[in-house]
């Protein structure tokens, strides 16, 4: 008990500072919110740390990644911050060729957050973990005063195993590689914008937020000539194309007519003066594949439920390394610039 937060009579509908103090309220949160969602998993053992077996395959490596999630609003069409937190970290592991298995989840909760909302988020995380074939094995919660966090911030770290012999890397794209995108771009960003204040438009578009573990698994089974993969999140497709161009020291040439964009994303982009190339996705990947395997990998991706809109959009070239160029839908060519700062809606 503290002066700021006296012992309560029963369960609170909202997060109070006491929920982060390690005492009775923290215990209640664990028992009523987290454990029911993660019943039957490692987390239920309530150890201070999770013990995991070492990779058994000779030459296999451990993959490790971390990400923080601060999206607002917490719930958006097609997803929520919890689903995002699982998918973001799982996908970072998968695009490196890893088979993901374990996640940690640390929550910073804002005083005043509705516990019903927290329950929804946590249940969503558990469901997404099952979808992705991963477990949250360890976690933490802290509470901060009202106004110091946007409802909830989540940090997830993830572990996976990279089988021996896989060497996907952002520096490995080679001249001649075909560029594959697994589906239409910009869905996530536009779905977030549609619920953001001041822009106020309606759409049935859903975020594409989804775990890609089974897709990358299928792709890597069918080809060992996938040189690198990335998921276009912040910065959109342009961001990852620039990453490849810069790190692999190659040029990139894509064709606007081949880049899949949903009608709704085009409409929202036109209305707000945005460019789909810079709008975030959360369930898509871009891959650089040796040309002889490109069609085969494309066919595999298209068979996957998340890959039906997949397309080959361009090539890695030798000319003008570091630059991303695009052939426009009317035939002229131009550079795709790297965005400095966020895209803002325009009137001009």
């Amino acid at each position: 008990m503290t002066a700021a937060c006296p012992v309560p009579a029963g369960r609170y509908p909202h997060i109070v500072l006491g929920h982060g103090s390690g005492g009775r309220l923290s215990q209640e949160l664990l028992e009523h919110v987290f454990l029911p969602a993660f019943a039957g998993t490692t987390l239920a053992g309530l150890e201070d740390q999770a013990s995991l077996p070492s990779p058994s395959q000779r030459g296999a490596r451990i993959a490790f990644t971390t990400d923080s999630f601060v999206v607002s609003p917490l719930f958006f069409p097609g997803g929520d911050i919890g689903r995002l937190a699982v998918c973001g970290t799982v996908n970072d592991l998968c695009v490196g060729g890893a088979i993901p298995h374990s996640l940690s989840a640390a929550f910073v909760l804002e005083e005043g957050l509705a516990i019903a909302d927290l329950e929804r988020i946590v249940r969503s995380m558990a469901a997404t973990c099952r979808e992705a074939g991963v477990e949250i094995v360890t976690g933490d919660t802290k509470v901060v005063e009202r106004g110091k966090a946007d409802g909830v911030f989540i940090t997830t770290s993830g572990l996976g195993v990279v089988p021996a012999g896989r060497t996907l890397s952002i520096s490995n794209a080679r001249v001649g590689d075909a560029l594959l995108v697994s589906g239409p771009i910009g869905d996530h960003g536009v779905s977030i914008l549609s619920v953001r204040e001041g822009l106020d438009f309606e759409t049935t578009l859903l975020s594409d937020c989804a775990p890609l573990a089974s897709m990358t698994h299928a792709m890597l089974e069918v080809s060992d000539k996938i040189h690198c993969m990335r998921d276009p999140t912040r910065g959109g497709l342009s961001g990852v194309l620039h990453d490849i161009a810069r790190q692999s020291k190659v040029g990139i040439r894509i064709d606007e007519a081949l880049v899949p964009v949903r009608a709704e994303v085009r409409a929202a982009s036109d209305m707000l003066g945005l460019d789909p190339l810079y709008i975030a996705c959360e369930g898509r990947l871009l891959a650089a594949i040796a040309p002889e395997d490109a069609e085969r990998v494309l066919a595999t991706v298209r068979l996957h439920p998340l890959g039906q809109g997949a397309a080959l959009i361009g090539q890695v070239v030798a000319e003008q390394p570091g630059l991303v160029r695009m052939r426009s839908r009317v035939g002229g060519e131009r550079v795709v610039p790297l965005l400095s700062g966020e895209q803002l809606p325009r009137i001009c």
């Binding site: 536009v190 549609s194 036109d270 209305m271 003066g273 001009c348």
Partner: protein
């Protein structure tokens, strides 16, 4: 200058003394002020700038580009016969 986007009028209603309506931009819709296109009917297309309809889009004029495409197609079909 002047991002104007065409959209289809889905509804029209008076709101606080202004004519407003829901306009569909191809999967994305928004409330738009129709005050200066009073003649607009449901299903018409308007040109929208900053949430405001600037003018009605003339459907017949808008179709001309498809007519041009058809003409080009027909010319294209005739071309091979003309080659020596």
């Amino acid at each position: 200058m002047c991002l104007g986007v065409p959209g289809r009028v889905l509804s029209r209603e008076q709101e606080d003394g202004l004519l407003m309506g829901r306009v569909d931009f191809g999967g994305v819709s928004r409330k738009v002020c129709l005050e200066h296109v009073q003649d607009v009917a449901l299903g018409d297309y308007v040109l929208v700038h900053v949430g405001f309809a600037l003018s009605l889009i003339d459907a017949q004029e808008a179709r001309k580009i498809f007519e041009l495409l058809r003409e080009l197609d027909q010319l294209g079909e005739l071309q091979p016969e003309r080659d020596p």
